[in-house]
Amino acid sequence: MKKVDKQVAEAYFRKRVRLMIGYLIVWALVSFGVVALAEPLSGFTFNGMPFHYFMGAQGSILTFIVLLFVNAVVTDRIDKEFGIDEKANEGLHTGKPLDH
């Protein structure tokens, strides 16, 4: 066991929370935002259909998938940057049911 500097630990958490808030803002814009503006957005077309329909049927889902993968990749990178070893993480929990 090694003590982690308080500022380092806080920096880790803050970095992750900031990114997450960013992802959630994009999430809200492509779903709630686009629905709220459905009428004006119906004026132009994308992939053959009116834009508001495209966003509901394809655009928002694709954005969600991209956000989840960006989060997974970026978080892995942050973990690495802070010296987290996934092998060690696995060793701590795999196959070990919780005892009570």
Partner: protein, 553 residues
């Protein structure tokens, strides 16, 4: 008994044999196998299992039909049921995984150090899962009944027996691999018809690229007929209802106990994040396809069926007319079937379209098998959630803490068998339309569990009294709104019963917050545990300091 019957029967039996074989092969031997598959499922496969677990009869059978009938307004389901995975994967799943319990009520009971909270959460889980499973069982009844040309009631009974057998013997480990197989069956069954339809209509095998033009053409056809255009927004409900429904489906997704439990089957927080991402890829494949399914079905109905003389309609129409789900009546008596004279139930669109488009006996049988896979896989996951709530959280934590593993497993299995039978009996005469019942389950999960899980994970000051008050008000407000809205035509801001969670959730969040700050804070141990959830497994928070475990020690 024609060729179609035998082909469909053969495909369904072969797929059932596959699921049961997998379940028997992976029989649960230990408690941790039964509930969480020993926590070693790799993320990609777990993502596929989540997708199989997640996509129910409502997704497979109901969604394309809902979009076809509601047009743009049906897309609330598509966005809601996918967007929820972001809330789940960002806000809850990895943290709950680090906390390391078997079930949602167990997390709530231990996090708030309260048996009362545990019991409320266990009962809430059983209520939500039970409401949800009724839809699955009656969905499987419709498919089996239509296919075997027997009554829906007997079809439901057959479905109940099959589900009970594999859920009882397999447990979570069996279910993981069964759900992977079920996902593969259901996605193949969904994609093949739309790829063929895309080829038929547009000469391009990629429906996602081509159906946009069809959507625009549908708008033109509607305009010619003097109808509201297919893609016009908010024709069947208000914008408020659309937003509220989408919100409830998202928050409900994040808080559904049977989905959360699938994130306990991976090894680490990182694996939980990747599972969520893969899950949405596999789910997205079907959800991106449903609007295409809807557009093609409607296009074929409008251009190839409508406008035909009534006395020369193809053979497929009669079977569906007999089920009462399709009505073709020549209202103006000109001998020609007009589009406005077709009344089609949204639950048969996916099943009937391959027949309408003449895709052959094999494809039609495959679609039936896919629909069964969707209903069975979700029902299996829900039964695990119900049985673990009772056997694990109530029986072995409160009633008989000294019970042996064997005894606990037996109680879990008996609970599954009992729950299946009781839900089966209710499903014989369901209390509403399938999609409506499913939306209630989501609203209830959003109102009851989302606030308490969210604050429990992110706010160390949340305490037991707050959690109990929050869950009870959330459940009460949501359930109350559903009952008032369905029985007395009550509504606020134009929001219907399916959007009830939009009131339950914020009220519950506020109550949890207020009661928590007005009462004593939770113990230091619990507050430390909550701070600990901010960091990966290797880091742990103790006595105000963060410690890092070094590899190999």
């Amino acid at each position: 008994m024609d060729t179609q019957f035998f082909v469909s029967l053969a495909i369904i039996l072969a797929s059932f044999a596959l699921y049961i074989g997998i379940a028997v092969f992976n029989r649960a031997r230990r408690t941790s196998d039964f509930y969480v598959a020993s926590r070693g499922v790799p993320p990609v496969w777990n993502g596929m299992a989540i997708a199989g677990d997640w996509m129910s009869a409502a997704s497979f059978i109901g969604m394309a039909g809902t979009v076809m009938i509601l047009g743009y307004d049906g897309l609330a389901y598509i966005m809601g049921w996918t967007g929820g995975y972001l809330l789940l994967t960002f806000l809850l799943a990895p943290q709950l995984r680090k906390y390391g319990r078997y079930t949602v009520p167990e997390f709530i009971g231990d996090r708030f150090e309260s048996h009362t909270a545990r019991v409320i959460a266990a009962v809430g889980t059983m209520v939500v899962s039970f409401v949800y499973i009724i839809g699955q069982l009656s969905g499987s009844g419709v498919v089996i009944g239509r296919l075997f040309e027997i009554e829906t009631v007997i079809g439901t009974m057959i479905g109940v027996v099959v589900i009970a057998v594999y859920a009882t013997f397999g447990g979570m480990r069996g279910i993981t691999w069964t759900q992977v197989a079920q996902y593969l069956v259901l996605i193949t069954a969904y994609l093949i018809p739309i790829i063929f339809m895309s080829l038929q209509i547009t000469n391009n095998p990629l429906p996602w690229m081509t159906y946009g033009e069809i959507v625009s053409k549908l708008g033109e056809l509607d305009a010619e007929l003097g109808l509201t255009q297919y893609f016009a927004p908010f024709q069947t409900g208000t914008k408020g209802q659309f937003l509220a429904l989408m919100f409830c489906l998202m928050a409900g997704t994040a808080a559904l106990p049977h989905v959360i439990v699938r994130f306990y089957t991976v090894s680490t927080m990182k694996a939980a994040r990747w599972s969520g991402a893969w899950a949405l890829v596999f789910i997205g494949l079907l959800y991106l396809s449903a609007p295409a399914y809807a557009a093609f079905s409607r296009f074929i109905l409008m251009t190839q069926v409508a406008g035909q003389p009534l006395d020369s309609l193809p053979a497929w129409t009669q079977a569906w007319i007999n089920t009462g789900q399709l009505q073709l009546a020549d209202q103006n008596g000109d001998g020609i079937l007009q589009w406005q004279e077709i009344v089609i139930s949204n639950d048969i669109v996916v099943m009937a379209t391959p027949e309408i488009a003449n895709l052959g006996v094999f494809v039609i049988g495959l679609v039936a098998a896919g629909a069964m896979a969707a209903a069975l896989s979700t029902a299996g996951g829900l039964l695990i959630a119900i049985s673990s709530s009772f056997a694990h959280d109530i029986y072995s934590r409160l009633i008989n803490p000294q019970a042996s593993d064997k005894k606990k497993l037996l109680v879990a299995r008996i609970t599954i068998a009992l729950a299946t039978v009781v839900a089966g009996v209710v499903a014989l005469n369901p209390p509403g339309v399938i999609t409506q019942i499913v939306a209630w389950a989501f609203s209830l999960a959003a109102g009851t569990f989302f606030p308490v899980l969210f604050l429990g994970v992110w706010w160390k000051r949340a305490n037991a009294k707050g959690a109990i008050a929050g869950m009870l008000t959330g459940l009460g407000v949501t359930l109350g709104y559903i009952l008032l809205s369905t029985n007395f035509d009550f509504s606020l801001f134009g929001i219907q019963d399916t959007g009830a969670g939009v009131f339950g959730l914020p009220i519950s969040l506020l109550v949890t917050y207020l009661v928590s700050i007005l009462t004593a804070p939770p113990s230091q141990k619990v507050q430390d545990e909550v701070v600990d959830l901010r960091y990966p497994e290797q880091m742990s928070y103790k006595d105000g300091e963060v410690w890092m475990k070094e590899p190999g020690r």
